[in-house]
Subunit: 494 residues, 2 copies
């Protein structure tokens, strides 16, 4: 095998790869990290699916590509990808390429760890416990005690909450399954994230057994409906076992009344979970943490640093007040991995409390950002995005044609823009149908021009409305005005 | 806010971060990628947990650290982490830092995508389908048709198999849950990966309802026991619904007899899953794919490119013969994300077939490696590691004191080394107890010296034995001799 060929084949870095890796990193830095986040550049280069398949030939082949082709492929990948770190990407509950977060990822990638044992991942295993404890303290669990894990996404974190709640109520479920139990029922609001239902289904509980509680006009769970649904389940001889409250709903950004939910959970002996995947970041701020008052009374929490704290994808945590429950509930003591006759204290081999076996070290980028910014830096970050959200809200309140869906509590803001030509029509079905068509058209133009990305959706009987999401603390008042202007312009020019 | 302070705080890269990022990359390249994979360097710098906590102060603080401190923290992280890319890390079913895989990760990290919609992840959404189709073709599904996903780990892929199998047999389970069904039973071998049981428990089936089938001395599932267990479940009025076969078991590397399992699955109308998380890579080789003969008759497959193909962590796939089943089984049609009134064909918005919502683009590093090596490159990679495994096996067969646990079929090789002082003892309990203590001691010395990492475990009544795992195609015959020498030396010097 010739030198060049073996460089290509072998999974071992050699000095011959150095030039390639350096050139690639230069490109990545210039094109993705710097150009990709400049306001004057496009958020995306829209290409439709069929065309993209042709432009970026993705086919796999028998023979290797040259380093030159590979660099071109990398550049094309960057070109045709959405720049989720661009300040005008306000489309999802994640965004930004934080430089320190990115740095943390680089280090993790180069070390390629799998976090199950101290033996294989000494640094990351210890670091997870440090970070999780700190997060539990911020949540308000006594002395930061309890349990927790990093897991790939808030959806799975919500699944862990169901798993722990169910096990807490019926430890036999681990071995015997649901077959041995009466029908289990859990409660969440109609505005909760879809993962609660999805995971309940995956976990054998069934979507029908997730009782959806009505929300008020702001998107908060209705307490009297919650209580009556708990009673209904009991009357049906089903077994209510948990309430999944939401702190920062996906669309409206509403915070469920956690204190009252805690009261009801105590009264009926239910596990209280708080899905703070989105809103959890507000806990970092002395000013805004009041939105989550009562979370310290919960049994468990989902909190995604990759959302409001702008940590790179993915960084999600499940935090729990009950020490040791995760391993009780999930451990299987595989002898090939979690040997007990190791020469160090195997309490550090925490992998068995997960349902994953191999697992990335998602903790590192978050820890690295935390060290780079300090807790105070995160606080400022949160305060700034809340201030910008308040500013944007004021802006549109004072601008003709805009209507808020609800007074925002979080940094996602939902609103309609009603173009002049619709403004004087009666508010009937016809009006709603017309309004419903605006957002998709405006979004289409944004994407085709690459000027910004903001999402839209209907909710209950409400026609499509825009949802602006802020988690980028570099956004300015000018940016807010810019968003308003684009939306007005595109809507009027339809 | 001063310039420096705002650089630190804002999640927006600016030219002021460039120097930091470049210095960091240089360090990562030198220390983790190059030095970390050199044979003359240590695999790890052993430090025990309490000491490591002191040396690498991980505490989170109110105030930011300086860039200098951050660079030092990065260097310390590299220093104290296990070099999983080092050729002498033969401890787990993953290893290597493939230069092209690492390059693919860099690009992905810089773009920070979440793969749910074409709108947000155009390149990666299309690429997933290209790669999954190619993998299904290699598995042998007709024209590569069917369904599939990337998911965070083979454990979850095994969970998806249970989910699809259960839904296929009882579509009502999605809404009604297991409560409405008779007791479900699935079958897997006693040597199968623990994730089958773990996920069955998480999914409400219960560990007791995973019937473990005996294995023969090579670790293959015993067909007559399988059939009698299926019949037992039926007699108990339980509902058998799937068999999870293993192609490349975790410890012994055994391949279950897939053709015979397919026959039984047809006879009893059971879903046939093949957990080829580890052994799947062999499908890339014309010479070794025969080990998985019959996999083309399966309903679904777990295949982790991050194991035998040396792709970076994590890269795992679930492949399925039944087109559309993943969305039928998991979709929840959240209106805020999977809008149907988009301006492009929303069949490309494939996110709803996952149980995750946000999701990393694990496809890219694999695709990038595939383009760098070609299918032929992967084939050579696989052939080389198998040849080295055969070479190692011959070596220890011809060296006094070594005993194979079973004739290896895959690139994991399990064996004892019996030190001289034990060699002439009667093979009784006392002997087993003594032998049991050897591997942990040898491992301790390896780790403390940083010379190599190989794992050990007991199995059934067998005392601790070593398991060498090869997935690094840069390993040479010299390396194999080196491993043998270290094991002999350390064992004899105990
Ligand atoms: C409130 C809430 N919970 C959970 C999730 C799921 O998080 P992930 O996308 O990390 O799975 C989301 C995602 O947007 C969310 O908004
Ligand atoms: C046969 C087998 N299946 C599944 C898995 C789980 O894969 P992961 O670690 O990616 O969850 C493993 C892990 O070693 C395995 O050996």
């Amino acid at each position: 095998m010739s030198g060049a060929e073996s460089d290509r084949l072998l999974s071992l870095p050699s000095k011959n790869h150095e030039k390639f890796l350096r050139t690639l990193f230069d490109n990545v830095l210039d094109k993705a990290i710097f150009d990709g986040t400049k306001r004057e550049n496009k958020v995306l280069e829209w290409t439709d699916p069929e065309e993209l398949q042709k432009k970026l030939n993705m086919d796999l082949k028998d023979d290797p590509d040259s380093d030159e082709t590979l660099l071109k492929l990398a550049n094309d990948t960057i070109k045709y990808s959405v720049k989720t770190g661009h300040p005008y990407f306000v489309n999802q509950l994640f965004s930004c390429v934080d430089p320190y977060g990115f740095a943390g990822q680089l280090i993790t990638d180069a070390l390629n760890p799998s976090v199950y044992t101290y033996e294989v991942s000494p640094v990351f295993i210890l670091m997870e416990e440090v970070v999780l404890k700190e997060m539990r303290e911020i949540v308000g669990y006594k002395n930061g005690e309890g349990d927790g894990i990093f897991c790939p996404g808030g959806s799975l974190a919500n699944g862990y909450s169901i798993s722990c709640a169910r096990y807490h109520a019926f430890p036999d479920v681990k071995a015997k399954g649901l077959h041995s139990l009466p029908r289990l029922v859990l409660f969440t609001s109609a505005d909760a994230h879809y993962s609660v239902k999805k995971l309940a289904s995956f976990m054998g509980i069934g979507t029908d057994n997730v009782y959806l509680i009505r929300t008020d006009e702001c998107g908060k769970m209705d307490m009297s409906h919650l209580e009556s649904e708990i009673l209904r389940a009991k009357e049906e001889n089903a077994l209510p076992f948990m309430v999944s409250a939401t702190a920062g709903t996906t669309v409206l950004g509403a915070f469920d009344p956690l204190e009252k939910i805690a009261d009801l959970c105590e009264k009926y002996n239910l596990w209280m979970h708080v899905d703070a995947a989105w809103g959890g970041g507000a806990l970092m701020s002395q000013k805004y943490k009041k939105l989550l008052k009562g979370i310290e009374r919960s049994d468990s929490v989902t909190w995604n640093p990759h959302k409001m704290l702008a940590c790179p994808q993915q960084c999600s945590t499940f935090l729990c007040r009950h020490e040791g429950i995760l391993s009780e509930c999930h451990s299987s003591n595989a002898a090939y991995l979690f040997q007990k006759d190791k020469f160090y204290d195997t309490k550090y081999d925490t992998g068995d409390k997960h349902i994953q076996c191999g697992r990335r070290a998602d903790v590192y980028k978050f820890w690295y950002m935390w060290r780079a910014k300090g807790t105070k830096g995160f606080e400022k970050h949160v305060d700034q995005i809340f201030e910008k959200a308040e500013y944007f809200t004021e802006l549109i309140k004072n601008r003709e044609g805009f209507e808020l869906i609800a007074e925002p509590e979080c940094t996602n803001i939902c609103f309609w823009y009603i173009p002049k030509k619709l403004r004087n029509l009666p508010r009937d079905d016809q009006f709603n149908q017309e309004l419903h068509k605006i957002a998709p058209k405006v979004k289409e133009r944004m994407m085709k021009e690459g000027s910004m990305m903001i999402t839209y959706q209907p909710l209950n009987s409400k026609p499509n409305f825009f949802r602006l999401v802020l988690q980028d603390s570099s956004l300015t008042k000018q940016d807010m005005m810019h968003f308003v202007d684009i939306i007005v312009k595109y809507s009027e020019e339809l």
